[in-house]
Amino acid sequence: MTVLGALAAQVLHMALMAAAAPTLTGLLRWFQARMAGHIGSSPLQPWQDFARLLRKQSVRAEDTSAVTTEAPIVSAAALAVAASLVPSFTLGMTFARFADLLVIAGLLALGRAASALVAMDPGAAQGGIAASRTLLLGGLAECALLLVLFALALFAGSLNVEVIAAMRIEIAGDWRVGLVFALAATLLVALVDAMRREMLGLGVSGSNLALLELADALRLLVWLDLIGALFLPFGVALAGAGLGEWAIGIFAWLLRLLVFVVVLVLSQTIVGSLGLAAAARTLGVALLLGMLAVMFVLADMSAP
């Protein structure tokens, strides 16, 4: 029964993630537009965009290779696998044993690398600039993320998302200084990585573009779910929980996503759009916060 339950949870989780990703992006855009004083398109607009892109005949740029058709698939697949590993409403899903944080960080990097290759394929200047910026900021973001992961793993004794989340649920009130720094660093990284969009899809169209957009939407969702699972797993059902707890978990997950969207959009409205230098500086601050997090967790461990 538990095996079946875990499998059901996994399938439900994947379906929810697939449904949530474009909707979340749409919601974010709608709220951004409202904050900027526009009416904004409907939160369901990304779904219509997908349908339109899939229906349209695609056009390929001259001088492109198989990378233009294959790399978007790799990018979307990497993000989809990452999304299936990060818990949303319950722990103890079938893939829980494989949900390693380093693997998730690696999959995010893989998705980014594949998208950058798509941008470089037509050989036009904008694509190259976009790829170069994506990888530079992505590299900085990964650097900060790895430090945060190091701090969390030192604290929890494992790099597995579920183990860390279960531990956070158990000692929800324990907010050490190191964890606060880690949360701040992750928020900054998520802000830059999920909100700053380079024009990677200029040279592609049709279903390839749809896949790239899907990967972007999934990336935002994976970031928000990661923050939720690692730092604020309120209401997440434990392994082997019943349907009632699942319902509470789903409700808490939706609430969490809404709060994150509000926080992201508000901070973006206050900070303004991030230029390259500002984004790099923000990530530098995140890096520093990550180092502080590791230092404080290490100091905590040294204290008797």
Binding site: V59, E62, D100, A124, R133, E142, L159, L298
Partner: protein, 542 residues
């Protein structure tokens, strides 16, 4: 028996090198390849049958040369000669490699290293050999390894031995980093015993972390194919060196599980290094042969004529860029886990060190992706930047199969790193059945399962492809190039200088680097020399 055959094969290689002028080229290549294949088979047999040792009646007066074959040397023999099958290596270098790996006393190592250095890098190999002999002499006698193991050095002698071995390894990196790793493993891990101080791992950890970050940085900035390939292959070697440092610390604080985890990481790192080095070197050679240049800024769009080379390059870069599910990522994962375990259980000094190491490791992780995408994107994608590059073609015949085979092997070992850890189980002491499908840091711990990740990626990819199947080939249009007009017929590749090139790709990175504290080595050296000169003249005038 196996060892006797191996020494005969080494002698054959030396003879081939001596009479190279008498033997026609193709015959020599064939003979070297046959001998390399025989060595691979013999090393495989030796892994199965266990350790053996013989004494040859040659060497300094009144003494014998001892050779020994244990799991450690058999592993490295297997790896290095398997890689040698794919490339053309001088017979003398191969003989030196085999002699060094099989040596079981100081004399054997000296002979092996001098052969390895050959004429071109004799100075470096001689310095390394002297360092090792002095280090062995500090044990009490530079004789047979079996004797040395019974009397490990202690006190100041141990410290000097470590420094000398590190110096020797540093000299060996330009010759062959894998041999450098082997020297560290043999002397520091095997001969010095486990009763050493905790700080032994520290220089290795720092050197490895610095090396990894520096090679990733070099790979991101270098502007020729061969320079990028060379720097890229050194990143996994840096990971391996770090892992050796963690293993030493783990052993010193009596955590055998951490030590074996780190040793497994070190082996995977060396393996990734050798595979990356061979594969990227072959790719660089092929592209240069066919494209006419090794400068990144003159290549472009090569994938159209060279699909096999391009996919091989992708496989090598995947291993280098520490992306899952590649072999480099497996080494990185194991290293990260062992670092964590060391920080959790180690002493406070080590903990402070792990912060610094983790930062450098994270930086190399970020830079490696950038370097890999830059190399592939500039060389293989986009529009051709020169007429010769536009007509580059894949190699035919044997080189093509070698490339494809090596690329497939690299990808396979990335998906099944347990397979790569099997031959090394004798000296890493990592529990092999547990590791075959999933890398774990404990019997019950959840781990990293590359085959699961690969299967999931493949399933998601196939599903997406089926769902989005395109019924007919889409029409091709000129790309919108920021408002530039379509290219005139008399300028078929456009103006190469107007394309986004390798230097433009890292321009933001260079700009970012100016924010870091900058040390100008050249001018500091000049200033130091001037200061010394001033001091000398002042002293002379007195």
């Amino acid at each position: 028996m196996v060892l006797t055959l191996l020494s005969v094969l080494i002698a054959g290689l030396v003879l081939l090198a001596l009479f190279a002028r008498l033997v026609p080229g193709p015959v020599q290549t064939g003979a070297v390849a046959t001998i390399a294949a025989a060595v691979v088979v013999l090393a495989g047999v030796a892994l199965h049958s266990g350790a053996s040792a013989i004494a040859l009646p040659i060497g300094p007066a009144g003494a014998m040369t001892h050779l020994a074959l244990d799991p450690l040397s058999a592993c490295f023999l297997l790896l290095l000669f398997l890689a040698a099958l794919g490339t053309q290596i001088a017979p003398l270098t191969l003989a030196g490699t085999a002699a060094t790996l099989l040596a079981a006393d100081g004399f054997g190592i000296v002979v092996g290293l001098l052969l390895l250095g050959g004429q071109r890098q004799l100075r470096l190999s001689a310095v390394a050999a002297v360092c090792i002999v002095v280090a062995l002499a500090l044990f009490g006698s530079a004789g047979e390894f079996a004797v040395l193991r019974t009397m490990p050095p202690d006190g100041w002698r141990a410290a000097v031995v470590l420094l000398l071995v590190l110096a020797a390894a540093g000299c060996l990196i330009p010759l062959d980093p894998a041999i450098a790793a082997w020297v560290m493993l043999r002397v520091v891990f095997d001969l010095c015993g486990s009763e050493q101080a905790v700080w032994w791992g520290v220089p290795l950890l720092l050197a490895g972390a610095g090396f990894a970050a520096y090679s990733a940085w070099r790979a991101a900035l270098a502007d020729t194919l061969h320079a990028v390939a060379g720097a890229a292959a050194l990143l996994p070697f840096g990971v391996a060196t770090m892992a050796l440092g963690v293993a030493l610390c783990g052993r010193a604080v009596d955590l055998p599980s951490v030590a074996s985890l780190a040793l497994a990481a070190a082996w995977l790192g060396v393996l990734a290094h050798v595979l990356c080095r061979t594969l990227l070197q072959l790719v660089a050679d092929e592209v240069e042969r066919s494209g006419g240049t090794r400068r990144l800024d003159l290549l472009g769009g090569v994938i159209r004529g060279m699909p096999v080379t391009a996919s091989s390059c992708l496989s090598g870069l995947f291993a280098f860029a520490l992306l899952p599910p590649g072999i480099g990522f497996a080494a990185f994962w194991l290293l990260f886990q062992s670092l964590l375990a060391m920080a959790r259980f180690g002493d406070p000094g080590l903990r402070a060190l792990t912060l610094c190491v983790a930062l450098l490791l994270a930086a190399s992780f970020g830079l490696a992706t950038l370097a890999g995408v830059r190399l592939f994107g500039i060389v293989f994608l986009g529009r051709p930047r020169s007429p010769r590059g536009a007509v580059a073609e894949d190699p035919r015949g044997a080189p093509r199969h070698v490339l494809a085979g090596l690329a497939a092997l690299t990808a396979l070992l990335g998906i099944l790193p347990g397979l790569a850890l099997l031959p090394a189980a004798g000296w890493t002491r990592a529990a092999s059945p547990m590791l075959l499908l999933t890398l774990r840091n404990g019997a019950e711990a959840p781990g990293y399962s590359p085959i699961f990740i690969a299967a999931m990626l493949a399933m998601a990819g196939l599903a997406a492809r089926r769902a989005l199947r395109v019924r007919r080939e889409p029409p091709r249009e000129p790309v919108w190039n920021g408002g530039f007009a379509a290219l005139p017929p008399w300028l078929p590749f456009g103006d190469p200088a107007a394309q986004f090139g390798a230097a433009s790709f890292v321009a933001p990175l260079r700009k970012l680097a100016t924010l870091l504290p900058h040390i100008d080595m050249q001018s500091s050296l000049h200033q130091m020399r001037a200061a010394v000169q001033r001091a000398t003249t002042a002293w002379m005038a007195r």
